[in-house]
Symmetry: D2
Subunit: 353 residues, 4 copies
């Protein structure tokens, strides 16, 4: 029940504070004999890394993963894969000003109430730095199920929205622009929009869209562990996420059954895909797709009223190096969590065959 493990068969347990010695994790249940492509793991980490472009935080972190076990002569051994990422660029002094202050819409207040005190440096365990470990594990998960193609991209930054019918959908474009939007022009609009907001010392939210192609039939465990339920949990476990919707989502609530039903083709595919690739909690072989909503980053470079640990009013202003918008860096995290969900159900499925 302590909450730092994800998955049942392919099981990731993570640890680490943003300003401790290191963060890391253990993957238990990875099948043996998989030749790991370590470059691809590092590439995924680089997609999440601070400092990768002008619209993300300018912190510099090496984010180099060191594998301690579970890999022998380049292959997984079937035993637990332990890994760590050293924290090399902690500027703890950036945080001394918040030692006794609760920042608005951060986890400072709740961590203090839950644990009695907290590692206040950089958000401690509540820092999004923790997600680097998810990316490592997700990159390995992807290599266990290479046939499944997971693609996330930026669908909206604030009010600037990518609409599939109006904008160009080119998956190869995603990694070519810093916003990770599949429409080149819209990406430029989004980039300018973010820069403008940052100039004001402010931040903005957005939406990540994820498409999963070539999904095997029959993944998902009703009635509680329906495939969409686990995706929802996975996404809502990511820092700053406020919502999840798959298939027709919230818009689908406005449709009639006669509009919404996905009519079968003779081969078992469907003519429409409002179901989002899942029926009754089980994958039906059609693409799975979903939206993930991210709130604006809580740390802003403007003065804000707040309180301290003595329940006194204080004024605070953000220090340090922060993201004006988490969405571009969240793309590989969404993909990683999707991969972790899929690999787990993929392995459990084997027990049923």
């Amino acid at each position: 029940m302590p909450g730092n493990t994800f998955g049942n068969i392919f099981k990731l347990t993570t640890f680490g504070e943003s300003h401790g010695e290191a963060i890391g994790g253990v993957i238990d249940g990875c099948p043996a004999g998989i030749c790991l492509d370590f470059n691809r793991i590092q590439q995924e980490l680089n997609r999440r890394k601070p400092g990768q472009s002008s619209i993300v935080t300018q912190r510099k972190e090496a984010d180099e993963v060191r594998f301690l076990s579970g890999v022998f002569e380049g292959k997984t051994t079937g035993t637990p894969i332990g890994f760590i990422i050293e924290n090399t660029n902690q500027k703890s002094k950036d945080y001394s000003h918040i030692k006794e202050v609760y920042r608005p819409s951060h986890a400072d207040f709740t961590y203090d109430k839950k644990y009695g005190f907290r590692d206040y440096r950089g958000g401690g365990r509540a820092s999004a730095r923790e997600t680097a470990c998810r990316v490592v594990a997700g990159a390995i998960a992807k290599q266990v199920i290479p046939e499944i193609k997971i693609t996330a991209y930026t669908k909206a930054i604030g009010t600037v929205v990518f609409e599939a019918d109006k904008h160009q959908v080119d998956f190869t474009e995603i990694e070519k622009n810093p916003v990770r939007c599949p429409d080149k022009k819209l990406a430029q609009t989004m980039e300018a929009y973010i820069k403008n907001i940052r100039k004001q010392g402010d931040t903005i939210g957005g939406i990540v869209h994820c498409v999963i192609e070539n999904v095997p039939l029959a993944l998902g465990e009703p009635v509680f562990d329906k495939l969409q339920a686990e995706f929802a949990k996975a996404m809502l476990s990511i820092n700053a996420v406020k919502g999840f919707a798959y298939g027709s989502g919230f818009e689908g609530t406005k449709l009639l059954g006669s509009q919404h039903n996905d009519i079968f083709n003779e081969d078992g595919t469907t003519q429409t895909n409002y179901s989002g690739g899942i029926q009754g909690g089980i994958s039906n072989g059609m693409p799975i797709y979903f939206d993930v909503a991210f709130k604006p980053v809580a740390t802003i470079m403007q003065a804000q009223a707040s309180i301290n640990t003595n329940a006194e009013k204080v004024e605070i202003i953000g220090k340090g190096r922060h993201d004006p918008c988490v969405v571009p860096r969240a793309i590989p995290i969404v993909e990683a969590m999707a991969a972790l969900v899929l690999v787990d159900y993929y392995l459990i499925r084997k027990t049923q065959l």
Copy 2:
């Protein structure tokens, strides 16, 4: 990993097909010594029951729960609470026409692919009848944490939307109208809207809103089992649910950080509550609120093209007694799942004090 258990400390395992002998469940981990109010359990079941109003399915089911263990002289004993609800009104012949047919947007196709064959009568395990067991367990969960107040209501039926700033919010109204909307007049509009759709043999989706008041501080287990993550999973595990959003949700993605941040009062409450009562995955004592999107019911009383188990085209038309809209009956289910999430975190919290 098989998916029919929910919770970790207060653990519900359910079983049963809609047209088998009975459905039922086991609650393991309910604290001892709680005087159960059996009338309230039955009342919750009645809120979910078919035939309760003119806008829901007219199937008649007794839905009477029989407790087999774990209760002695009216009090919980701390041992597992086993219960069953006999299936009394199965009209299996209503389903013989779908024995070899895959209904569009139902789970027929995926269950067949997953298990090799299926109990085709009434959806079998994929039937929403299964949720009656959740309501029983939720009603018990509520009695373990009576201080927490959980209220769900209908926020939207199709395009008819309850807007808190335009419509009257009166929680006492909810159970007075068959739609379960807190605005009496809007409820009438919604009711007429549903009836009209039913006349056309069609169905419609909608949105349930849930508010949880008097939540204890410090519930939630970062980093994967954040409180919102478990709510998301719980809601997405309910039949027909397509989306979940808490606090500012998808709308919040359009806000600036300076607008979205919840400024603290000196007592630790916040002036706004875009956070939805949760920060860093941990309850902060403010009300928790979220939306749950339901798709239109897949069974419609109109002819539809489909395929059969031999991959041949067929035409089908709905038979039996079905809901034109699941939202009114989904209200107690959303509340039950919310209660199951809360009781589990409430109990785990005790291990930390």
Copy 3:
């Protein structure tokens, strides 16, 4: 963590008190499509049933299992198998004398301390009646892995010990005598021994031996869920069990490494089998064998000093119908638990192939 679930993939959850309405269970994760032999399930129950011979308790219980779900047209559907066994022969008045008394070496005292009060009738949840549900699940587990042959028998009743080198080993004899010992003559000695002890109103312990043949290679999950570790847990979870030893067991501690090491044959089998079919927590294909120690039944028909719930001294004497020795009826329970361990590891093994 509440303790009424066993297994991870093939997962049994049980409920029920000896004198409540019914006992029962849910099996989640049983593979779909298995044609269940219901007669064999009932036969296993009959081996455990009271009243089956003159050396066991003379209570009469129908012990008929009723399946409520998860089976359709004789085959498992892959959904949870719910089942109940009604309690038909509860003589609750037999227990009114212990309502406020703690029987020596029973669970009365500890249940009261743990739960604040207890269902005192017949031991409630602590009654060995609960094991009937294990036998049902074990009988189904055996049918999932029919190639594995599990045989338990009586190795010792008190000081009367079956020694493989001195006595005749004939597995077909086991079910022919009421003691379930593979040596016909020794079985008669044991039977007379038990009868004599019962005449004195006393009880006696004993040892069950279990042999598992045709075990697939590579079952077991180091480092904590080693195969022997799960067998140990399974056995120690049975009422009255005090010890578990596999392979060379406690005697093996006296051997030198040069004596104890099992030398390999070229085909991977070993010349000796002190390892008991398990090396490094993983099955090696050789037979698995272990001993399980059962204490004497606590209920004796002699006057004993004890205390009541007011901490006052009382004298009690056993009433009702009890076993003078649990060993003969424990045989199918040991086999059932072994089957539950094996089926779980058998299924998890599939995720690794």
Copy 4:
């Protein structure tokens, strides 16, 4: 289900091969605010360390634990405690001779069959080096429940047996002699016995006895997670363990019920303690005690016949530095596992109050 996690609330996950970069673990669920005594953690590690005396392996390993997270300013933060122990003294070349050989009664054969290949250096994951991580976690667990006193000692080395009625029981003596036997004289006999066996290039087994005093009432979760069941699993998960018996154990099977029943005193204690401090799977407040049987070490310094990975006969002879008897070094491991069992049930108990 992958087997490298122990516990439910206080949850230890370990990783690492004996000759990889490091071994380590993550403890999730440790309560916040505990001032850790790091010296005591290191002391426990030193009790398990190679090279500590002349009767254990002469390998030199620093066995220094490095904590990476979950501790801030000397106190646990409630977040996961990640730790590693670097492998500093791996002589991998000592193992090149077994790369393609299956050593008798080792896990070489089964690991190869399970995972397809293995890290052959020093036993890889199957090495007892892994238990160092258990000792770290156990040392922390002990500090969470300081009121419970866990004492393990050597009860037997081969045929040399400590008998409580014949030998002197002095707990303070245990750590004063290298065998860890509470009787000084017998310890000398045992030491000489081990040295003599080592001279012959042979090894010997033995028995560890563990006593747990000041156990809180009401720990244990029937019916499957009885306290003794979890102790059994914990002990059988330790390398080389073949048996577990608590309370009267195997000897108790020979007693009559009238002899074996523990008569209550008015204060709820019992006059005898054949029950071993547990009734119905729940602690009764009396001392818990149990025996753990260890087989002789499989690596001997004598020539043995074996096979290689091509199923050909080979002759092997032990190389490297090995223990002639694991018992003295197993003492802190038994204690650590006992502590992990107890802390988990101690925390779960809080959910019931």
